[in-house]
């Protein structure tokens, strides 16, 4: 994991000081609400429905055990004893008081954490694959590039007041677990035929009101040009992105209006001037950063651990967990493990302070002291010896992390929705819970197989509903909370935006609707198909027929 040097530390500490003074001036009436707004937002501070919400950055999802304990401490001391992991791999506290935020930031700075640019119309936290560095299908480790982007984007003076927020995701594996297709910029780290590292650059993807999959504007950008090229993309966006209408201000609208080809030409023309300038990355810098992401001290094993395999045979519960929550690792004898934050009746992504402390202990004991946050709002311990898995499973069961549902229907991505968020049209957490309760039979759940069910409480799409195999969107119908369902979305390498099933439903109809959708799939699937495959083969019509027939 990246460790700050004196420069990084100083910048974060000066930010705390700056924000302390800004908060003081606001409380003293020297800064008006509209003036304070972007300042607090660029520090992750929202004013929510009931209280402020503070979003703390977990750069590209990485958290050390020491940092996790600090987050637990903050949840305990300044909040109501819990916190929420977001789909941006960040962590949110829902009840701190404004006056305390500077102190919270000071605590965070002690462990090299911050809330810089976690909100506002600026470059946000860069996200990546939760299995970076350990995935069996990895081509290039994306983490050093994410850290390089983090430093470049931190307090970038030219791009602090963009037309709208700006999100970058990096993927370095065959599978795209970072959903790069639906980000403002998506980067695929690749190697060309000569073995040189570079980036395939996508722009203009995004969810929200106008969901679009990004377009490739450069097939291969040699690595040393990464930052000057990003500067060029951002400069074109900063100058020409729409500022007259908040809903048309994302880069995707500009890219669509110009066409990706013309947008790409504008970027190249801009880049011509700065290419090879001092912003060009050096091999020394890449090595300096990459040195923080070297492999930990793995033990040598010949292959899979026999006791682990035997235990899977003999104990069904353990096997269920291993099937869903244990993932292949590039090093023999190791595995990555997902701790599910999706047990029934807990808001997806929520975690208590005691659980956070416990995760930190687990990370220290089993996984080199490091934790990753996933965009599906779970946690990953990336470096577990297979021989430790059984013991880890037992501990996880006690702690409530062992729900064997990763990648299954009840592993729901869900935004905070109407229970917390002032922008919501409808509640999302109770819908997630009702669906989880309906599908509480484990064998049935495993039989249904892999399925992304994503719920957002409004068009802002924080719950990524467009790219859920099943997407649920809260809508407002004459003041009442309704839910629109879409099918066929996908966030992977061939990202697709889902299609709307039809008229929306009341909350109490939702479990039945999902049951009917699943029913059509189970009746129609071939043995090798997952939900999304069946949907792609048979299309929307049979689902529509069944759902609306039974509803009338």
């Amino acid at each position: 994991m990246y460790i700050y040097d004196e420069y990084d530390q100083r910048i974060v500490e000066e930010r705390v000081k700056q924000f302390r003074d800004q908060t003081r001036r606001y409380l003293a009436g020297e800064l008006s609400d509209p003036e304070f707004l972007p300042l607090r937002l660029q520090n992750g501070l929202y004013v929510q429905r009931y209280a402020p919400m503070l979003r703390v950055a977990n750069p590209y999802g990485l958290v050390s055990s020491r940092q996790m304990r600090k987050l637990a401490f903050i949840a305990r001391e300044y909040d109501k004893g819990y916190a929420h992991f977001s789909t941006r791999q960040n962590i949110q506290f829902n009840w701190p008081s404004l006056e305390d935020v500077p102190d919270i930031l000071a605590h965070l700075a002690e462990v090299q954490k911050h809330a810089i640019q976690t909100s506002g119309n600026c470059i946000r936290n860069t996200t990546t694959d939760e299995f970076a560095g350990v995935a069996a299908d990895e081509l290039v480790d994306p983490r050093p590039w994410c850290e390089i982007i983090r430093q470049w984007s931190t307090f970038h003076p030219e791009f602090a007041y963009l037309p709208r927020k700006f999100k970058i995701a990096v993927n370095g594996a065959v599978e795209d677990r970072a959903a790069t297709g639906v980000h403002d910029i998506g980067l695929h780290v690749v190697k060309n035929e000569a073995g040189e590292i570079g980036f395939t650059v996508l722009v203009g993807g995004g969810l929200g009101r106008t969901p679009i999959v990004g377009s490739v504007i450069r097939e291969f950008l040699p690595w040393e040009h990464l930052l000057t090229y990003l500067d060029a993309v951002l400069r074109v966006y900063n100058r020409y992105g729409r500022r007259d209408n908040k809903f048309k201000a994302r880069i995707k609208i500009l890219v669509k209006a110009l066409t990706p080809a013309v947008f790409g030409e504008k970027v190249e023309a801009e880049w011509e001037h700065t290419k090879d300038g001092p912003g060009t990355l050096t091999a020394e810098e890449v090595e300096r950063v990459a040195a923080h992401f070297t492999a930990p001290a793995y033990e040598t094993f010949a292959g899979d651990d026999n006791d682990y395999l035997a235990k899977r045979q003999s104990e069904k519960g353990f096997n269920n967990w291993a099937m869903r929550n244990v993932h292949p690792h590039k090093v023999p004898g190791y595995a990555a493990v997902t701790l599910s934050l999706k047990p029934t009746a807990v808001a997806p992504g929520d975690i208590t302070d005691q659980q956070m402390d416990a995760v930190a202990d687990l990370a220290d004991r089993y996984s080199f002291g490091e934790i990753r946050v996933t965009h599906q709002q779970n946690l990953v311990l990336a470096d577990i010896r297979q021989s430790d898995l059984y013991e880890l499973w037992q501990v996880c069961r006690e702690l409530g992390f062992a729900t064997p549902n990763i990648g299954l229907l009840t592993d729901i991505i869900c935004c905070p929705g109407g229970d917390f968020c002032s922008l919501a049209n409808a509640k999302s957490i109770p819908i997630a819970e009702a669906i989880q309760r309906t599908f509480d039979d484990l064998d049935y759940l495993h039989d249904i197989g892999e399925l992304d069910l994503n719920i957002s409480g409004c068009m802002n799409a924080c719950g990524h509903h467009h790219v859920g195999h099943i997407g649920v969107l809260g809508v407002d119908k004459k003041g009442a909370e309704f839910y629109q369902v879409s099918l066929g979305g996908d966030s992977g390498r061939n990202a697709v935006i889902g299609q709307i099933l039809g008229p929306s439903f009341a909350a109490e109809q939702m479990p039945t609707v999902i049951q009917n959708v699943i029913g059509v799939y189970l009746n129609s699937r071939t043995p090798e198909e997952q939900f999304i495959d069946t949907y792609q083969r048979i299309g929307m019509a049979p689902f529509k027929e069944r759902v609306y027939a039974t509803n009338n």
């Binding site: 910048i11 930010r15 003036e35 430093q151 931190t154 970038h156 900063n238 912003g279």
Partner: protein, 168 residues
């Protein structure tokens, strides 16, 4: 008299800012004038013939390319922020300095508040007409918000990674 920040000091304002619809009628010959872009584009010749100082100001939707060939005629280029959250002129200032080599004063005008000054300075602004209801002396403090920066920009052409390297 309004006071502005120039080169990290509070000084008296000596320039007259003409409104967007200003015409040549009744322009003083010897005052220092900041003229709107349209006036410059229509009457460059007449404006150059005056004895007083000449500057031009651009609104946030007016592009620096329109004056890129005229820079030698201006002592000051003022960039207007209709609202502080409209960030287009951060790029304008960088282009004027880094691409077109403008050496005169680049001044931020309009909704200019202290918490934006640090970034503005990094982008090449060296003068700030802080909003009149705010104290420019207090605003000076914000120019010192950070002592270290990551990116190359107009004020520091080398990124931190090159300076880190130089220090070994």
């Amino acid at each position: 008299m309004q006071r502005i920040i120039k080169d990290d000091q509070v000084v008296d304002e000596t320039w007259h800012l003409l409104s967007k619809d200003a015409t040549l009628d009744g322009l003083s010959n010897c005052d220092d004038l900041l003229v709107p872009l349209a006036l410059w584009l229509d009457h460059a010749h007449a404006l150059k013939a005056r004895d007083g100082g000449l500057g031009v100001w651009l609104d946030s939707d007016e592009e620096v390319e329109l004056i890129a060939n005229d820079l030698q005629h201006f002592q000051v280029i003022a960039l207007n922020f209709p609202v502080f959250s409209d960030g287009r002129h951060y790029s304008s200032a960088r282009l004027l300095r880094d691409r077109y080599g403008f050496k005169g004063e680049i001044r931020a005008i309009g909704d200019v508040l202290r918490d934006q000054l640090f970034f503005m300075k990094r982008c090449g602004f060296d003068a700030f007409a802080v909003r009149e209801d705010r104290d420019p002396y207090e605003a000076l403090e914000s120019l010192k918000d950070f002592s270290e920066v990551y990116q190359p920009a107009t004020d520091q052409p080398l990124p931190l990674f090159r300076r880190r390297q130089a220090q070994g």
